[in-house]
Amino acid sequence: MAHAPQSNFENPVVNWIDQRLPIFTMMNKEYGSFPTPRNFNYFWNFGALAMFVLVTMIVSGIFLAMHYTNNTLYAFDSVERIMRDVNWGWMIRYIHANGASMFFIVVYIHIFRGIYYGSYKAPRELLWIFGVIILLLMMGTAFMGYVLPWGQMSFWGATVITNLFSAIPVVGESIVTLLWGGFSVDNPTLNRFFALHYLLPFVLLAVVVLHVAALHITGSNNPLGVEPKGPQDTLPFHPYYTTKDIFGLTVFLIFFASFVFFAPNLLGHPDNYIPADPLVTPAHIVPEWYFLPFYAILRSITFAISLPFTDVVLIPAKLGGVLAMFGSIAILFVLPWLDSSPVRSARFRPIFKWWVLLCLVPAFFMLGYAGGKPAEQPYVLIGQLGTVMYFAFFLLLPIIGRIEKPLPLPASIANPVLGGNAATAK
């Protein structure tokens, strides 16, 4: 017992455990007394909300997996069996299906928060990178999950998206064959997608643990973007932020439940209630709404890039689209180094603030809108404009950081919070 830390818990059982494995000390340190900036606004609820949705997805998903059959002959009907004959099956499935949309809504707001308040800047670059990895894992998991009910959109969405990899020179076709487990989207594809759809959430959970661990090293950013300078700038996480998070969670659950119970198919596509048929192509293949911005970027590259004055095609349009789409995520990885401004919060950055609100945010919505429309004018143009705006947002950040004159930063968090308009803030 030489190395056993001293624990001072009143409950002897807790004390006994804690001296041997200090989980109670750790929980208290990380979630009890953890010093948290006192000036969070409600944007800071979305990390906890994302965590809640992840757990909801894993739990509801495990119950669905108990009743789901991953075979092309039975998958569609097994989902309908869950809807009709499994006790509370309709609710579990609607929670899981809409939970995917909720996850993306929450995470997109969480990412927006991170960008607007500069949460990706030093010393939180690694924290941000873990977040981008989580986004990628979420996308892969959600895509494969949408294939499992084996409806028309499942099948054709899988066909279109897996085919993207064939654009990669030389190895593309082999990669597609590997993804499919054959020469078309078929039973082996469904089997491996189910296996991976079950596996990836746990990988995602592991990265979330790293994300949170890194957060607890650096501490949270805050709306002012200045580091806490002492105890007057922080509050213990419990009870202040546990209470605030539970309130926020309840409001979020009202939103979530209104979809699950009153509009469960609003975010889905009617065609996915038609069983998959490889011989009938749907008139209009669209991914789930949360992929539409990226789908629009993919479709925006309608032209091949050739060697000037020759017919030598360097990048065919399809490969260009794929590169642009993956590039739109990849660019997030280097965001901490693209942004050259030392000031974090957009509150003190007069150009950056409007650059986010008038370039990045409209680009995202324009892309989402164009991605859901057929590839014809004016939607292609809207998508292309959105693509240019999206990339311009990131690529011009080094210049903006240089020419912008930031507003004077507050001396500390406690000063503006307690001094100025604190009485009316909440």
């Binding site: 006192r38 009907d77 309908e80 809807m83 009709r84 309709w90 609710m91 609607y94 054709w156 066909t159 279109v160 085919n163 993207l164 064939s166 597609v176 020469f183 078309s184 509050l235 009870p239 202040y240 209470t243 605030k244 539970i246 309130f247 309840t250 409001v251 659950l253 009202i254 439940a257 209104s258 699950v260 119970f261 009153f262 509009a263 469960p264 198919n265 609003l266 009617p270 065609d271 209630y273 038609i274 192509t281 008139a283 209009h284 293949i285 669209v286 993919l298 479709r299 309608t302 349009a317 399809k318 689209g321 057929p374 590839a375 014809e376 939607y379 604190a422 009485a423 803030a425 909440k426």
Partner: protein
């Protein structure tokens, strides 16, 4: 085959719009909005609404006497009819009226027997190929989920069933096709299924085309979303709790934070 599929998919990816443009090109009108007792399977603001079961039952009669000649409903069992108000004796009688293929028995032979409530609705065709062969090469769609599987849901099904007219002058109708105002492309293989007094309702309701279309759509809506009422009922309780709990948490949060502001 592989190349073909790649081509199809690549085409679908980059020009997904083209085919739909051809189909959706302007001249197919939106189905007129009807009033449904349950508000519609996808209707958001219908918290307290439920199915009109008298209509759903009449709709089952229309399905049984008209639609079931060609359309299967393989996700439904006869026992499910109990949920729309048929008594157990009635469900047994409805099931027993069907001859169901079963087997093999312990002699290894297939046999037929009267249907049981646990049987799925009998498929009008022994298999998909037979259904396609008997219907000009394409099997009629299964109707279990049809209301959820079409945009505009109930309104579209009702519009389609009542949308048969003579083809306008100059419209080329291939042999075996019928003109329908609301079907994408207008040429539909299904002949007009409903006629005035095509069925005789036992409850005295006048069996107009419109009435039959409404009734069978109500039945199909129930078949596609049988848990709709339970869903809304549970949802209201969940909402009630969440709103109440949010109020409590807001009060707790305010009180706690008032010390530090």
């Amino acid at each position: 085959m592989r190349r073909l599929r790649t081509l199809i998919a690549a085409g679908a990816m980059t020009i997904a719009g083209l085919t739909s443009t051809a189909l959706a090109a302007g001249d197919v009108p939106l189905p007129p909005a009807q009033t449904w007792a349950h508000g519609g399977v996808n209707s958001f603001l219908s918290f307290f609404k439920g199915y009109d079961y008298a209509s759903v039952q009449r709709g089952f009669q229309v399905y049984k006497e008209v639609c079931s000649a060609c359309h299967s409903m393989h996700l439904l069992s006869y026992r499910n009819l109990h949920d729309i108000g048929f008594t157990e004796a009635e469900v047994k009688a409805i099931a027993a009226a069907q001859e169901i293929n079963d087997g093999p028995n312990d002699q290894g032979e297939m046999f037929t027997r009267p249907g049981l409530p646990s049987d799925r609705f009998k498929n009008p065709f022994p298999n998909k190929q037979a259904a396609a062969a008997a219907n000009g090469g394409k099997a009629p769609p299964d109707l279990s989920l049809i209301v959820k599987a079409r945009a505009h849901h109930e309104d579209y099904i009702h519009a389609l069933l009542t949308g048969y007219t003579d083809a306008p002058a100059g419209f080329e109708l291939s042999p075996g096709a019928n003109y329908n105002k609301y079907f994408p492309g207008h040429a539909i293989a299904m002949a007009q299924p409903l006629y005035d007094s095509g069925v005789t309702y036992t409850d005295g309701t006048a069996a107009t085309i419109d009435q039959q279309a409404k009734d069978v759509t109500n039945f199909l809506a129930w078949a596609a979303e049988p848990k709709l009422e339970e869903r809304r009922r549970v949802g209201l309780m969940v909402m009630l709790f969440l709103v109440f709990f949010a109020g409590i948490m807001y009060a707790a949060k305010r009180r706690l934070w008032s010390e530090v502001h």
